[in-house]
Symmetry: C2
Subunit: 391 residues, 2 copies
């Protein structure tokens, strides 16, 4: 059964159009909404009054006159509900409460002692209960829970494989749905980061964006035509396993010469140990390396440059394939920005095909450590607004 178009759909679409206009351009008057959207003034009026009934939109005081009657300004009510967004890392949980505007209302980080799922899961549900207790009263309360995981996740929300956590085939979504009667969203950490950066990291939302999450491994989130692209089964973006060196180093994926064996935090640390820059089993090896570079240790600086070059190789490949507007680098590695950024930029400028360079911008994650949680929040918020519309 295909989707048919009738008057109800028309209304739904127009209502979301009005709402998203208000969200994007808040504060805005009814008259401006009509002009921006192209809808009739009367139509806007009636849709807005419904949105006000639903407490998704509020009237603030009158605005500046434009040579006539003063407009009544409309605001999106970001406090109508809250999303719980969690970044599940290899050794930590970052939990946040985020309002509909994308503001972080509350945050808390807890360390994980084990990656064993039977230990992590109760810890996670306990953490969620803690977060739920902190959510302020509001019309819609908690609108959903989103969890970003460093894992390959199917379109159905099942964790297929999380190599760094040693998880396999875990139905996290189902399990959380059973515990909490709320909409649950599970996504790959890089995809969530990409979405977060697109939604909240730019003045002008980019149409095509590639987000490279470089941590222990490398994952890539792709925004194409303003939407997250996740492939046939939901596991696109395993760019970390593209071959950049034929017959190169073995990778845990079974392949040889994978990008993430040359350009990830893990690759950096492995090389640093090999070159005796740091000790085996040292704590915080990554930040120690940054410190070394800060202290003008040439070997450390050179190592960062090498890693930067490899990052550049992989990014250049994706740029040549995608012709994106923006390339954003996120996750752990942003802490070493000053030591790798110049190399990456130089490599890309020298090696991408000429046309790409005009409009291409390469930058580091503006949301820093919050890319993932904000992305997960955006997923839950959009799901909520869609459900709201259909009701």
């Amino acid at each position: 059964m295909n989707r048919t178009w009738n008057q109800y759909v028309v209304k739904q679409e127009n209502k979301t159009l009005v709402l998203s206009t208000i969200i994007e351009q808040t504060p805005i008057s009814r008259a401006s909404v009509a002009q921006v959207t192209g809808l009739n003034k009367g139509t806007v009026s009636s849709l807005v009054s419904e949105l006000i009934d639903e407490e998704l939109v509020e009237e603030s005081g009158p605005g500046e006159s434009n040579g006539g009657r003063r407009p009544v300004m409309l605001l999106f009510n970001g406090k109508a509900g809250y999303s719980l967004a969690i970044d599940l890392g290899v050794d930590y949980l970052l939990g946040t409460i985020i309002d509909l505007d994308g503001n972080i209302f509350y945050e808390k980080k807890r360390q994980l002692q084990s990656t064993d799922f039977d230990v992590v899961f109760p810890f996670l549900t306990d953490f969620i209960k803690h977060l739920m207790a902190q959510v302020p009263k509001s019309r819609y309360g908690i609108i959903g829970i989103g969890v970003g995981v460093p894992a390959v996740i199917s379109n159905q929300g099942e964790i297929l494989l999380a190599p760094n956590l040693n998880w396999k085939k875990i139905k996290l979504k189902e399990q959380l749905e059973q515990q909490f009667n709320l909409p649950i969203y599970i996504e790959n950490e890089a995809n969530a980061g990409a979405y977060g950066e697109m939604r909240y990291g730019f003045e002008q939302t980019p149409k095509h964006m590639v987000y490279a999450s470089i941590g222990i491994g490398i994952g890539v989130g792709m925004i194409l035509d303003g939407q997250l692209y996740s492939g046939l089964n939901g596991f696109a973006g395993e760019a970390g396993h593209m071959t950049v060196v034929k017959d190169g180093r073995t990778c845990r994926c079974g392949n040889l010469g994978c990008w993430e064996r040359y350009a990830s935090e893990q690759a950096l640390i492995d090389e640093a140990i090999d070159r005796k820059l740091i000790e085996h089993n040292q704590e915080e090896p990554f930040h120690n390396l940054i410190e070394l570079a800060d202290q003008h240790n040439q070997a450390a600086i050179d190592l960062f440059k090498e890693i930067g070059t490899y990052i550049g190789i992989g990014l250049t490949n994706t740029i040549n394939i995608f012709n994106p507007e923006h390339v954003v680098i996120g996750n752990q590695l942003i802490d070493a920005e000053q030591w790798i950024a110049p190399t990456i930029e130089a490599y890309i400028n020298e090696h991408t095909i000429g046309f790409h360079q005009n409009d291409l911008k390469v930058s580091f994650a503006k949301l820093q450590a919050y890319s993932t949680v904000l992305g997960m929040a955006a997923f839950t918020i959009e799901g909520f607004l869609l459900k709201q519309r259909d009701a």
Copy 2:
């Protein structure tokens, strides 16, 4: 100004829904269309009668009864108009007249003696005039001209760079529009091939498909979510220039170790000359190599295997990034299918991350030499039907 939804849009959308249902499932009755689309019987009836007025749909005789009144079968009228689709190669022009059903009504190939644009352009317009003379009478006549070019083409239809033709910044679309008062479509040859294969090469239209056009160079056309993805400026898909061997062979793009320096027809020929399998300046070196392999020449067979491995490397990279449903290999290299296919398949099976393999299919272009023209025809046909709808 955003797109607003009103009753007119609803009608347009429903009308295209009805039409595409008829196209896809022809012959089909009004009642079945209603059931398949979910639209009301009356709605379908009135929309169909408009489509019949526009001669896009015809009634054929009565069909088989299903236990009641016999249905009137509806057919899409593929002869309501014709598209001129041209494959502009490095040394040939393949011109076709294609009806709205995607059937090739007429075809003609002409060799090009020079790649100089000032020579090619008059030759092309002359060729188009010849084709126009062969088009049969029909309600809508020639609905548009589509030209597939091995070049980087902007979203505005300008040829930015065609390395193998030695063209740069040529406004082919504008020039053809001036000569012929018809809708003109210019696209990259790989993009057109991808589109053609998606539309006419499958029983079930794939959602996500990667088409690798492997000829002198390598271009990649991507179908994501059923649509051609062309990137911010229209020049996505330059995957031929991804680095597969760090510090490898120099490429004409200025980079080192590009995929197409190892996996293209040109790479094959260069290697063959190096290994003295064929002479320099020989005619048809590619097909001579195939003949050598056919004659059990082990060196030639090994060379094909090597090239196959490199093709596998690049395809594996794209698979890991895109998680597509299908990978299709097209252009010249399909002639060597029997000598490279096993190697490519073996490499992919061994090296893509496990999840991809379940639903992934790798095949060679079913439309063979017609992928590009059929893709260009599909572009013009879809453009025509859209314009028809809006009228």
